[in-house]
């Protein structure tokens, strides 16, 4: 007996269906296709970032799975600038709301690093000092809650404060925060000595190369996508450095 995956033994063959009904089915299917064809094409409309709900609401929505909700929100927030059919520059996002979302995600999943990576390397890189400060402050506050785990993001904040914002006192404050709040066992020597780089006025490219190179060599980055992301940044910086030295 032939095997018919879509026909059970109880079913009768197709020719048993009245011809009129077969034609009607085909006709209506065509009608639906034609209907769809003449409908206006959907237009992309950017929606703004919604206000953060209360933590209690998010905890309820998590149905006892806060980490799963946090991971889902990570991806949702990350792709918010790429809404269907439209791309919104990061600087057009509502940063106080963005910070609220990052904060809530981190509360749902305190051991996750995603919100800090996003704050440091996505939203914190917009050429807007106000928005950058907002992200740096978020990283600083969250670093103080778990310095041993979150120092890499604080180290990045030091460089942004020093070279992008040109705010030496702020960079020193952040660098000292790493020294004061971490132990030798928690953070490598170079990270705890960042205030020296800040004070000696090392160039941004060189300092960032040391930071990224240190992070990559530390073996702490294990995710392929993150490794690729950071290596790309490192290559980009090295390329820029090469061009600069040739010009000089």
């Amino acid at each position: 007996m032939l095997w018919h995956p879509f026909r059970s033994r109880q079913e009768r063959p197709i020719h048993q269906v009245p011809r009129v009904l077969q034609a009607l089915l085909g006709g209506i299917l065509l009608l639906q296709l034609a209907w769809h064809q003449f409908q206006p094409t959907p237009t992309a409309r950017a929606t703004s970032l919604p206000a953060t709900p209360a933590m209690a609401v998010l905890r309820l929505a998590a149905l006892g799975e806060p980490v799963a909700l946090a991971k889902g929100l990570d991806l949702w927030l990350q792709s918010f600038d790429n809404q269907p059919g439209i791309s919104i520059p990061f600087r057009q996002l509502n940063y106080p709301r963005l910070r609220g979302w990052l904060d809530h995600i981190l509360q749902l999943d305190p051991r996750g690093h995603y919100p800090l990576l996003a704050a440091a390397r996505l939203y914190g890189e917009v050429p807007d000092p106000l928005r950058q400060r907002l992200m740096l402050d978020f990283i600083y506050k969250k670093f103080l809650e778990a310095p041993g785990e979150r120092w890499p993001w604080m180290a990045h904040a030091v460089l942004v404060a020093r070279h992008r914002l040109k705010d030496l006192p702020l960079a020193l404050k952040y660098a000292r925060a790493i020294t004061d709040n971490t132990t030798e066992a928690q953070a490598p020597h170079w990270a705890r000595q960042l205030q020296i780089f800040v004070l000696e006025g090392m160039g941004e490219k060189r300092a960032a190369t040391i930071l990224l190179g240190g992070l990559l060599n530390s073996g702490q980055i294990t995710y392929a996508n993150e490794l690729h992301f950071l290596k790309e940044r490192l290559q980009q910086l090295k390329g820029e450095q090469g061009v600069l030295s040739k010009i000089q």
Binding site: R59, Y114, A224, E226
Partner: protein
């Protein structure tokens, strides 16, 4: 007595066969593949923690899908017996009603346990072996509770829509009751108001009655390794107590049922 055991076994056997014939296994496979697809896709778009995101999202989705599929299978299977009058035939035999119930529960429990095996393999692919094993054991215990609850609602309520709605309400309440308690006793609650106190008491009362399902099959076990035999032991205790409670409720209702 021996005849009753054989009857229980026969009822269990034919009920389990029904799972095969209604293609429950295919549905489960589809759900597993869909969850794997979502997990792989989310891992592709994540910049960091991609393995964690894959494991956690797959686990959360799989848990919901398996609970939903099992509940629908149990409820429609029992409701079909009511519609076909098979249950009347079974109750007219010289058998205690408990034998019918135990046969059904045994079969559905077997289906629940077998359903967890492919889920366990999938999670072992997405996360370390030991956490995946703990998560799967916890999911199995959760599914056993869902199984028994579905049986209670299916036998107690005459309409499938009512039974499915009741089961969903029970399950969602079981998973969110801890969050409700935190809100009811949180700093924003006005403890001096009578209505607020009554609400808090009601929530606390419900928490006593419901199983704390938010402690079961936690996806954070897969990424942070929080799970272990101690938690599994506690959950097994809760599952055992709740299975006994639900069985007592179902039998109480079945013995009172006038066909």
């Amino acid at each position: 007595m021996k005849r009753h055991y054989r009857a229980v076994f026969s009822i269990a056997r034919y009920t389990a066969l029904e799972a095969l014939r209604t293609r429950y296994g295919w549905l489960l496979l589809m759900a597993l593949l869909a969850c794997l697809g979502v997990a792989l896709f989310s891992g592709q778009i994540a910049i960091t923690e991609s393995r964690q995101i894959q494991a956690v999202l797959a686990a959360a989705l799989l848990r919901l899908a398996m609970v939903f599929l099992l509940a629908i299978f149990v409820i429609t299977s029992v409701q079909r017996e009511f519609s076909d009058k098979t249950i009347e035939l079974a109750f007219s035999l010289p058998l205690p009603r408990a034998a019918y119930y135990l046969g059904k529960l045994a079969a559905y429990s077997l289906v629940a346990i077998l359903s967890v095996l492919p889920a366990c393999l999938l999670m072992m692919f997405l996360s370390p072996v030991a956490p995946a094993l703990y998560w799967s054991l916890s999911l199995m215990l959760e599914l056993l509770i869902v199984c028994a609850a579905s049986l209670v609602f299916a036998t107690g309520l005459s309409q499938p829509t009512s039974a499915i709605s009741a089961l969903l309400a029970f399950y969602l309440a079981g998973r969110s009751i801890a969050a409700f308690q935190l809100i009811a006793h949180g700093p924003l609650a006005r403890h001096d108001e009578l209505s607020q106190r009554a609400f808090s008491t009601l929530i606390d009362g419900l928490a006593y009655l419901l199983p704390d399902l938010d402690r079961f099959s936690r996806s954070d076990w897969l990424v942070y390794g929080h799970g272990g035999w101690e938690q599994i032991g506690v959950q097994a205790g809760q599952a055992l107590i709740y299975l006994l409670l639900l069985s007592a409720v179902a039998l109480f209702d079945l013995y009172r049922k006038n066909l």
